[in-house]
């Protein structure tokens, strides 16, 4: 159990930094956005992992779980709305990338900066 607990946090850390790597190292704007969604997903995973209670039920009351332990509903609420807000902001980012492509003819960051310097 101890190991699984640490493993969840390590997966979070590595996922977070995989996303971060894509954001800082990749020059393609769409790849950067994909990296951002990975980064976001890592944060979601951390919140949900923290809210989980060992041996608990999903926080939905049924006829036969009146006395059982429940996982924490609050991080779930936060993340549920964050997912939908995340897709909306990603869509906004993609729209900006599409406009950039229409104006500059490329979505590679270095080429865009090259055109800007001219």
């Amino acid at each position: 159990m101890e190991l699984l607990g640490l493993y969840h946090y390590w997966v979070f850390a590595i996922l977070l930094m995989t996303g971060f790597y894509a954001v800082v190292a990749k020059v393609n704007l769409i790849k950067k956005l994909i990296g951002l969604t990975l980064f976001q997903a890592a944060v979601f995973l951390l919140y949900i992992s923290v809210g989980m209670v060992e041996g608990g039920d999903a926080p939905i009351f049924t006829a036969d779980n009146a006395d059982s332990l429940f996982s924490n509903p609050l991080p779930q609420v936060l993340i549920l709305t964050a997912i939908v807000v995340g897709i909306s902001t990603t869509a906004l980012g993609l729209a900006i990338v599409v406009r950039i492509n229409e104006v500059y003819g490329t979505i590679e960051e270095d080429e865009i900066q090259e055109i800007d310097r001219r």
Partner: protein, 328 residues
Amino acid sequence: MTVVFSMFLLTLLLITAIAVVHAGNLFVAVMLSGIFSLLLALNFFLLDAADVALTEAAVGAGISTVLFLGALSLTTDREKSPSPHRLLSLAIVAVTTLAVIMGTLDKPSFGDPEAPVQVHVAPWYLETTREAIQIPNVVTAVLSSFRGYDTLGEVFVVFTAGIGVLFLIGRHSGTKPQDIGPPHGEPSGLRHYLIPRLIGRMLVPFIMLFGLYVQFHGEYGPGGGFQAGAIIAASIILYALLEGEKRALQVLPRSVLVGMISGGALLYSAVGVAGMLMGGNFLDYSVLLDDPVKGQQIGIILIEAGVGITVTGVLLSIFHAFAARGRF
């Protein structure tokens, strides 16, 4: 057994994430990130978060993939330049990863019922939901009643993002949309592929029915406006992919979609204002009816409907905005 399965899924998640970043072809990366979302949803399910799993599966694996593919069809699916400063970035990322892992060592162990986060606030919400709202799904109760302000804010974030996308790429420059599409009379979408079309057409009504179930059963089981909005939008996006975008716009024209975007947010705010007019606080549903518990329940159903309408409208408008720019 669950432990082994959970570790297996987490490892698979990591491998997929690294493959997403490594893939040189953006199409491959987007497809892999759809798989990543599905795996993430499975992980959420194992972590007792049924509502979040449903949302992630509908939004991440479904709609996000379609939007990224739409953006790819309007730009390019090849990454041209290799990353400069690759080693430097890797070094920075490695150091930061170690720092984050070091930070996690101080955390309470995973699943500990005595962890500070579990003992202070959460029991209060569980108890009060049982007494004052009396709906089985605590997540829905917290989302729409206790944290109603916050959810209202998030609905307006979704609203703003939808309006932003429409401003950026909703209007056409130069050629009219009819000119870009396939020649007159030629079927668009996947209409000439028999099998996807037949199967897809059979699926559309059931997906929509499931969306409505998720919307109106959200108080009793996993579900609610956010998930339902994403699922209903996905069913109409599937219809658009099968039958062509024009047919989908005949079902739900742009003007209706814009009405849905603002109508849902307005419905949500109106419920809040109604509470004020009837002598309570903004977004206090217990004054809506004589019986405060029934008032809470009717308020939750109304604002969940508002959330569902706005989310459907925004996601579909974003899809149509991308689709009208090119042909996909």
